[in-house]
Subunit: 185 residues, 2 copies
Amino acid sequence: MQQPAPPLAVIAAALRRERDRAGISLAELARRAGLAKSTLSQLESGSGNPSIETLWALGVALGIPFSRLIEAPPSPVRVVRAGSSPRVRSEGADFYGTLLTAGIPGTRRDVYVLELEPGARREADPHIPGSVEHIVVSAGRIRVGPVDELVEVGPGDYATFPGDVRHSYEALEPGSWAVLVMEHR
Amino acid sequence: MQQPAPPLAVIAAALRRERDRAGISLAELARRAGLAKSTLSQLESGSGNPSIETLWALGVALGIPFSRLIEAPPSPVRVVRAGSSPRVRSEGADFYGTLLTAGIPGTRRDVYVLELEPGARREADPHIPGSVEHIVVSAGRIRVGPVDELVEVGPGDYATFPGDVRHSYEALEPGSWAVLVMEHR
DNA sequence: ACCAGGCGTTCGTCAAACCGAACGCAACGT
DNA sequence: ACGTTGCGTTCGGTTTGACGAACGCCTGGT
């Protein structure tokens, strides 16, 4: 399998995604790329089959390698396996730490302890947009993540994924438990 | 810098290159991709600005990841810096070896010693098609390669590049010399 | 309240991408 | 010698991508 996805919709999504990231308006992007607003509007709406030159101009205007416009969005699921990150010795204190995720000012981070038993799969409906979940497994094994992109994590492993899509937690061993940090703004 | 190259000509070249590689005719490719021969003909000739769907169909028909059609041809110039390759202890013998390039059955490999003095830049016209040059610097520094893609190599460094395009050798230090292997079938 | 400016969408027009058919060319087969 | 087959190119005709203008919608300034 190489690029399994449909070309049109992917581009439409990529276009919108990258423009959001750049934080500019549709009109502004069209201006920079030397295109008509209408053209870009139709492209982002998925109706339309842009020429290479048109897409190229957009890539340049967005300052991104062209190929990113034809890729599916990068998976927002990130996993850090236990021991795979450099440990940092805390200054003055007598312990080592591993930075998994830095706090973002203006966001709340609620901390939970999640205890799960095998068989009981817990499905969670999407939370408010923009929320992100972080989980560190303390014991056992857990399968977790967006329903279409589950990952398996064990003791010491860290996983993070968007909380505003359907996702689930499922213990694979008895006595599994984890620390869950729910982040929202 | 990301994708410095012009989009149109690159695609035209890529298209032709990949079709050659696949060993099929223009008409055949057009048939598989569901395009008119005329369309493909114009694309390969560089006149034309294909739509995404058109290019996509070609990528699928060629069985290659779409992105390869928008990339410049992979540079045929390869450099191995001294000490950057794992050394292999020869069985039974008391020395270490570094494999730089494996011989291909049915090809001849002529070995030369190349002595160069600074200032004297030696331009070589293309040799017979398919020939490849390999060079290992023994002493000094040499700038070598296709005229539009020169690389600088020092003692122990290895470089290989196609011999069927215009290329040149130029010493950068007095007393430079190298071993040159000319490969042709 | 009003208007000015920016946003994203929708509409009609025009150029061009894509098509199909015809062409010239070369290599075979009868 | 001739007809056949496949190649790549060139020629009008039609679909459609890209354009510019106009629209409705907000937000903020006077």
